[in-house]
């Protein structure tokens, strides 16, 4: 009898591990019922509501992220990083620079729906031991994901980069994935300031161009084609006249890329008006990615190694994926922005097309998809509303280039191909400026985060409430500037772990321990203080990297 029970237990255990190929349906769905269902769910597919998911959005203005509710007190301006007027030649003509001056929220947006900002997690954080959180973030929750997705015949993108949980070990010295998947890691400067490790997350970003951009015209794979096309793309996205590249055999391509009149080994490309290899005839224009471009972005905990060094954790908070499913020219984008403006003027709330397991269409050709931890820490696909909030950054702001951040901020040229490494990275100024971007940000924002709720950054880089440039001068690199202490890293990791347990990502994912003071729970478009003209700034997402970098 006992043997039978053991066998039954083993059998039921096997059943428990099997993935359900059909997501469970939440009857009479509401946002609250969805959260409860997510807490109970163990599958790789999240529960789905019994009605169209748009009908139960808890925050139909999720394109207004938590940071937009910062109390600027007519002085502190974190808004400029996202909200900018158009820059000549770019596809992004949203022109939302006025949002630095004016809240201009819809009626719905005037209430801060990011309730997690107001949750005090101090006790829960205190109850979690350092060993517990360290063990947690050192676990691998990525490797099993592809298999689990295949098990349920997932028809969205399935992660196909082996060993990504290992970080830089998954790539060669130039960033090319060791598994031959075509993914290429690049070294970029994290955008201020949610993506600074000191504010709770680390990340990495990889790019992959479509097969035609990696092969010769006869279809055979070619590293020369891929290296040259990646460099050409980088120059186009940055609007450069030439760019250094990893060595390219021009003879293999029969193209004089460096314009020196001979076919040799090119380390700089000046001929930027067309792609190479099988993609040679494909559409090309500045500030646009070609159709089929993919980005893979993993957001991770703040990893801490045995020496105390900060880096990416093995565990992933999120696996995010962007694919340019439809290419368009600049007039198309201009029309989309015009239509979006009309919709906003008409008082309509933002609307995006769900693509099922392929994510959400951001209306500008990109399919945006992702995976996030379930309550146990295993990765699962995003719900519609969780996915919906991605539109804030990947569509609805004026500073991006073809809706992206990281690639335009890659270290220029050949030096920037490789896994992200903040060590040795200089604090390059924003294009057109002279002071380091981070130093500038700290001064404009008056703190080390949008909410000015990072006391450690203030201790390190401020004196009597002002940026201390002497202190800043002591920082050797970006790593010194924006990575937290071990203690802060542990606390932030614990705070985020609480949100994972609660599965209420739709209420915000900011790893706050106690409620930040400088955030509004509601905005009055007419009465809430706004920034005066002398606190409004022009900003370019691109960076002035020194030649040596």
């Amino acid at each position: 009898m006992k043997a039978l029970l053991i066998a039954l237990a083993a059998f039921s255990g096997t059943l428990a591990l099997a993935e359900d190929s059909v997501p469970s349906v939440v009857d009479h769905a509401t946002p609250e019922r969805m959260i409860e269902a997510l807490k109970a769910s163990r599958g790789v597919l999240p529960p789905v509501p019994d009605v169209h998911p748009k009908r139960i959005l808890s925050n139909a203005e999720a394109v207004v992220p938590p940071q937009c509710y910062t109390q600027t007190e007519a002085r502190y301006n974190p808004c400029y990083v996202c909200h900018q007027d158009p820059i000549n030649g770019r596809e992004n003509v949203l022109g939302d620079g006025d949002l630095q001056r004016d809240y201009a929220f819809s009626d719905l947006g005037m209430t801060n729906h990011w309730k997690n900002l107001f949750e005090d997690r101090s006790e829960r954080v205190a109850a979690m031991t350092d060993e517990e959180i360290l063990a947690y973030i050192r676990q691998d929750n990525y490797s099993e994901l592809p298999g689990r997705l295949r098990e349920v015949d997932f028809d969205g993108w399935i992660p196909d980069l082996a060993d990504l949980q290992l970080g830089d070990a998954a790539f060669d010295a130039h960033g090319f994935a060791r598994d031959g998947s075509g993914w290429v890691a690049f070294n970029y400067k994290p955008l201020p300031s949610t993506f600074w490790p000191t504010n709770g997350s680390t990340d990495d970003v990889m790019i992959r161009l479509p097969l035609a951009y990696r092969t010769l015209s006869d279809g055979s794979p070619s590293l020369d084609v891929y290296r040259s096309n990646l460099a050409i793309l980088e120059a186009q996205i940055k609007g450069l006249d030439s760019i250094s590249c990893l060595p390219v055999d021009e003879k293999a391509l029969a193209v004089d890329l460096d314009g020196n009149g001979t076919l040799g080994t090119a380390t700089r490309i000046t001929r930027l008006d067309s792609w190479t290899g099988a993609a040679a005839g494909e559409f090309i224009d500045t500030f646009l990615y070609p159709k089929g471009t993919e980005f893979l972005h993993t957001v991770r905990y703040v990893g801490i190694d045995d020496t105390g060094k900060i880096g990416v954790s093995t565990r992933m908070k999120e696996v995010r994926y962007l694919r340019k499913a439809r290419a368009a020219n600049k007039p198309v984008y201009a029309r989309r922005y015009q239509e979006e403006g009309y919709e906003k003027d008409a008082g309509n709330l933002p609307d995006y097309l769900g693509l099922g397991n392929k994510g959400i269409d951001n209306k500008s050709g990109w399919a945006v998809q992702g995976f996030i931890e379930n309550a146990e820490g295993r990765l699962r696909a995003l719900t519609f509303e969780e996915n919906f909030s991605c539109m804030s950054c990947h569509n609805a702001i004026g500073s991006t280039i073809d809706k992206t951040f990281a690639f335009p901020r890659k270290i220029d040229g050949s030096a920037g191909w490789g896994y992200i490494n903040l060590k040795g990275m200089p604090d390059a100024p924003s294009k057109g400026e002279r002071t380091g971007e981070i130093a500038t940000y700290l001064a404009r924002v008056g703190g080390g985060s949008e909410f000015r709720n990072n006391p450690e950054m203030e201790d390190r880089w401020f004196s009597r409430g002002r940026v201390d440039h002497q202190k800043l001068a002591s920082a050797k690199d970006v790593y010194d500037l924006i990575t937290p202490s071990r203690e802060r890293a542990l606390a932030l990791n614990k705070a985020y772990r609480c949100i994972v347990q609660d599965q209420d990502f739709i209420n915000g994912k900011d790893a706050t321990i106690s409620p930040p003071k400088n955030v509004y729970d509601a905005i009055d478009n007419d009465k809430t203080p706004t920034l005066p003209d002398d606190r409004v700034f022009s900003y370019n997402l691109l960076l002035e990297w020194p030649e040596s970098s």
Binding site: N329, Y342, N348
Partner: protein, 507 residues
């Protein structure tokens, strides 16, 4: 004898006036209005496939044609329909359809950013053919042989077909000279006689055989008319823009700019000439007939209007022509950004002291979200008039307005009847008529059948299901035909049928 004759004439005149009034005055509301907008449903839901609109009782809807049907090579062998490359759910964009006068064909314009064209759909043969399409080079910015965003489509008194570019291309009007011809014999011409604007509504006067009205869909857009030198010749004539006499704002600025927000934009108005009778721009007026292939956002007619002091409105969209109870012609146009529909009473040429004969009109707010009651006398609706766009007029003169977009991401857009029973150009109520529930779509092209007055057609435009990469086997853009024969108000149905016998065109 004389007395009897006079009496007969008086009776005949009275009957004419009464007949005219009954034909063109609006009717009381003939359906039980909806009380809320419809929630959207998932792509290829049962609702999308069988009944995309929530309707009042007694109104049927059936699918006439869809992308899915025509693109099925077995089901629809030899048929074709417009689908532009690389535009996802915006690849076909059925827009403001036109019936031919016999009610046998529907001409469906494609408001695609490039490869704009027109599909001819034979209702009784259930056969669709793409009879014209640009060369598609607009995708790379070359519109010399391509067209963009055909929004209006109008069957002309000459038996030809007008198509015109709205937000893409260069703002041209294209005339299909032989719209019934086999596809390979179709002939077209660009009418360089009509100013380049963002054409959204273009319509023929029913009273003046030489007049075509059109509007410019821009936040500084104005109302225009083209008066042919010879009635029936669309290639030469004089262009005018409407200027409200008391407008003291800035013509070139948006309707709601600081300078214009409080400016008067209703009341007595004058048609200001932009050209002479041969179409030559007048001194001080920019040439309004420029096809600028290098600056695709340029609309020469708009600049000319600004020169002449044309009054700006908030994105004038469709326009419709009818008559008021006083017998005068009225031009209705929807101002999308203003959430309003205007009426322009056409007065004709009037003598003005010191100015000779002046071409006059009166501009009124016909209906608006802010000022017009909704469902007056019926249960209230929670819906709002949001971005009014296409207009349609039934055989009894009732005006219907179709909203441009869904009210929100989860709620469908609506169609309203604008109740104006005394037909004075100012509505008494907006009555909630239909509400679409297809995700990602808007309703477009509502038009009443010129032969079967109880029928009208409406499109589902750019639903999610047009993008087959996302929704395999999706229904896509589709035309639906409605019939009101079975509504409870049979008196209305009888009147509609009777009035329809004398009605020359579906509207």
């Amino acid at each position: 004898m004389m007395k009897r004759l006079v009496t007969r004439r008086q009776l005949a005149l009275a009957a004419l006036v009464a007949g005219s009034a009954s034909t063109f005055a609006g009717t009381p509301t003939w359906f039980i209005p909806l009380t809320e907008s419809a929630p959207v449903t998932s792509p290829v839901s049962a609702e999308e496939l069988t009944s995309p609109w929530a309707t009042p009782a007694g109104i049927s809807q059936k699918n006439a044609v869809s992308l899915r049907e025509v693109e099925d090579e077995i089901l629809s062998y030899g048929q074709s329909i417009g689908r532009a490359a690389n535009l996802g759910s915006n690849a076909s964009m059925f827009d403001m359809m036109a019936y031919d006068p016999q009610g046998e064909y529907l001409f469906i314009p494609h408001e695609t950013q490039w490869s704009a064209g027109v599909t001819r759909y034979s209702i009784y043969d259930n056969h669709a053919e793409l009879i014209f399409q640009g060369d598609g080079n607009g995708e790379s910015g070359d519109y010399t042989q391509d067209f963009g965003a055909f929004d209006p489509c109008r069957f002309t008194p000459n038996g030809t077909l007008f198509l015109a570019e709205e937000w893409a291309g260069t703002g041209r009007v294209l005339e299909v000279l032989n719209p019934y011809a086999p596809v390979e014999e179709i002939e077209t011409r660009v009418l360089e006689s009509i100013p380049n604007v963002s054409h959204e509504g273009i319509n023929f006067s029913k009273k003046y055989k030489d007049t075509i009205y059109f509007v410019d869909e821009d936040n500084s857009g104005s109302i225009y008319k083209f008066v042919m030198s010879t009635p029936g010749d669309y290639t030469k004539g004089q262009s005018f823009v409407l200027s409200v006499d008391d407008f003291d704002g800035v013509a070139s600025e948006n309707w709601n700019s600081t300078a214009n927000a409080t400016a008067t934009r209703t009341g007595n108005a004058t048609w200001i000439p932009l050209t002479d009778e041969d179409g030559n721009a007048l001194p001080g007026i920019t040439d309004p007939f420029v096809d600028d292939f290098t600056n695709l956002s340029y609309r020469a007619g708009r600049v000319a209007s600004d020169n002449a002091g044309g009054t700006p409105f908030g994105r004038p969209e469709d326009c419709a022509v009818s008559h008021l109870r006083n017998g005068r012609e009225v031009l209705y146009f929807a101002a999308t950004s203003e959430n309003a529909v205007y009426s322009v009473e056409i007065l004709g040429k009037r003598r003005v002291r010191g100015a000779g004969k002046v071409d006059r009109a009166i501009v009124r707010v016909f209906a608006s979200e802010t000022d017009t009651p909704k469902n007056l006398g019926f249960d209230a609706t929670t819906a709002t008039l949001n971005s009014p766009d296409n207009l349609s007029v039934d055989a009894l003169g009732n005006v219907y307005v179709v909203e441009d977009a869904p009210n929100s991401s989860s709620t469908g857009g609506d169609i309203w009847m604008i109740r104006d029973t005394n037909s004075d150009g100012v509505a008494e109520s907006l009555d909630h008529f239909l509400s679409i529930r297809v995700d990602g779509s808007e309703a477009t092209g509502m038009i009443w059948n010129p032969v079967i007055p109880t029928e009208f057609a409406v499109n589902v435009q750019h639903p999610d299901s047009t993008d087959l990469a996302n929704v395999p086997n999706g229904l896509g853009d589709a035309v639906w035909i409605f019939n009101v024969t079975n509504v409870a108000d049979q008196k209305f149905v009888k009147r509609l049928n009777k009035a329809g016998k004398n009605r020359p065109f579906g509207e």
